[in-house]
Symmetry: C2
Subunit: 413 residues, 2 copies
Amino acid sequence: MEFFNVLSVQEVNLIIEKLAKEYSIGTEAVDLINAVDRIIAKDYFSTVNLPQFNRSTVDGYAVICNDVMGASEAMPSFLECVSEVSMGQSTDLIVKKGQAVYVPTGGMVPSGADGMVMIEYVQKLDEQTLLIHKPIAPGENITFIGDDLREGDLVAPKGKKITAYDVGLLAAIGKGEIQVYTKPRFAILSTGDEIIDIHETQNLGQIREINGYALCALIQQIGGEVIKKIIVKDDFNKLKAELTKTIEQADIVLISGGSSVGARDYTKQVIESFEKGEVLVHGISIKPGKPTILGKINNKLVYGLPGHPASALIIFNIFVKSYMYQILNRSLNSFNVIAAIDSNVHSSPGKETYQMVQLMKKDNEWRAIPLYGKSGMMTLLSRASGYIRISDEKEGLMKGEQVDVYLFQEVDL
Amino acid sequence: MEFFNVLSVQEVNLIIEKLAKEYSIGTEAVDLINAVDRIIAKDYFSTVNLPQFNRSTVDGYAVICNDVMGASEAMPSFLECVSEVSMGQSTDLIVKKGQAVYVPTGGMVPSGADGMVMIEYVQKLDEQTLLIHKPIAPGENITFIGDDLREGDLVAPKGKKITAYDVGLLAAIGKGEIQVYTKPRFAILSTGDEIIDIHETQNLGQIREINGYALCALIQQIGGEVIKKIIVKDDFNKLKAELTKTIEQADIVLISGGSSVGARDYTKQVIESFEKGEVLVHGISIKPGKPTILGKINNKLVYGLPGHPASALIIFNIFVKSYMYQILNRSLNSFNVIAAIDSNVHSSPGKETYQMVQLMKKDNEWRAIPLYGKSGMMTLLSRASGYIRISDEKEGLMKGEQVDVYLFQEVDL
């Protein structure tokens, strides 16, 4: 019988980092309207100033601040209204001492003026004579050229996931097409003689394909593309044939099941049967998820995930996402919720334990409630908000201890 | 000149709640593989037990626990191996006193047995004689029928956003098609004579369409569909014509710009010009976002959003999302990060202030750093993690005070 040669989480992460550096993913241009949530593939700098002209932030009159110094209800300043600026039009008017020009919100403030008086504080005596009832400070109610963004400023760095606000900013500077990384292409091979697909009739002893569906959903959520999802029998030749067909088209291959050391666990054997196939990890000192394989065929990473759904999905969250983020040059998502653990948790020293928790707010503080169940239970995952990590040096956690909760959902700050 | 008739945030929320109750959105069936992130339209109960048979969680031997009581390396128990169970097959074997049956991980545990001994603790003397070196407790290494899910259990409630783990669970119980709410259809009309689209040549005084692009991205992110996004001149007839064309097809209409009280602000007038058009809100005591309109035409909600991008996007986050969530029967997303405010913040009593902040972790605590800038600045939004709410009764916040930070990104726990 074969045994695991177990590596630590840290050792596995170093291997993943090295593999990611060796892999290069393509880029493509997408229309800005479809760019949200894609990963930007080059640094975007502004080629313009934003705003491009001194803009009024109110409906009112462009004036020289000195002219309205000390103005009040009782002692208004008199100004001559010489013209008005239309929306969307530029103007070469120059405001001179004693003059005012009407400018709508968003309109261009003419030269000479250094402040905008809101229309609420202006009384029109006749078409040309204005009474100003309030003084203003220089710059008041004006956004000056480049206040928001200057030519040359970094707008969005390479590796950033494009937010809706980035889309707005890229629109503002006129970038209609954005260079992004292609979506990493995943293939999912679910192995197991007992596994049947969702539309098949179930006989006693058989179980329905779970991992393929859940993995496919996770991949969609984090911005990957699933190019193949199939069920393969526990058979060396069938698995080898599918992997051969898949390895060229996919960026990342996930084989679910068959990653342990049993007689019918073929993942390792199949990876090693490729000319440039190599198994780099077989067994990780982690709970759940010990029977995990990382192999490479040419420069493609092939994961052998445990068959237990909970284990497979935790391993995906910890070791697959991080690889995908790295080949996209993304900084790893470090957001977590700081919470107090709601009851004692036991863990085994020597293994890094990932404990699923549900977050609840009590007394204006987040509490992490550990969820327990037998290995492979799907209901636990569906109830969990995320997980906590208990280091391999600890024997557990005491109720009330502060923990970092990593949400299943990706959060970008 | 017309003035605002300002309502409080709470009053506006009550109006939205009432409108949402009067609106009903359709449902549709989607394949499970496309169901992630959709909103489930009916309660799903399990029609099966999960697992459907007593399943082994290890490779090993099904035994009667009593038979191996006290077994040890020095004093093993002897058992007769009478058969083995194949993966994916049911078995009608019955384990009797003194007998053992081989069962692989995930295989069916035969009747009579009440525990599984891991293969690591078994020594084979010959094909039929096993030495067991370790006792086990009743139920050990078995997941019993219904342990994960029982027939009749609620699997996913109406109004839940389907997670990847829900997809796994729905796959496990064989639901290949899921009834979900249709994606709410949005139309976005950006008004303004100064607004030009991204591919147009920009003259001085003109500004590029920002709100339409950013709103479109936000809508995609929260699971809505944009059926129209156009720029309309500040012209009563043009706006009326576009709204007439749009109102029947859309569930929600967003008109960006033209929501204030200026001479060229037509949104209110146009809504009221429809036979069943009514303006319910014109002005909200909120900062930013005061010049906001909520109207209805027939039973369709029409928002008049401020033209300033920052204001428009904040109003979307506060009043548009909540309406959309309610017509989808979603419980409002209540997740927030608990943080300490990093500097004093001033606010105006009488207005609910929404202050954008960036989250940073310092000394294992989240700090909310207020971001300031002139009204309408897009770079602020693009740097912000979310916002804090300062009640209209407060004059501000003191540095170090605990605040709830609402992330721009939707977080479901």
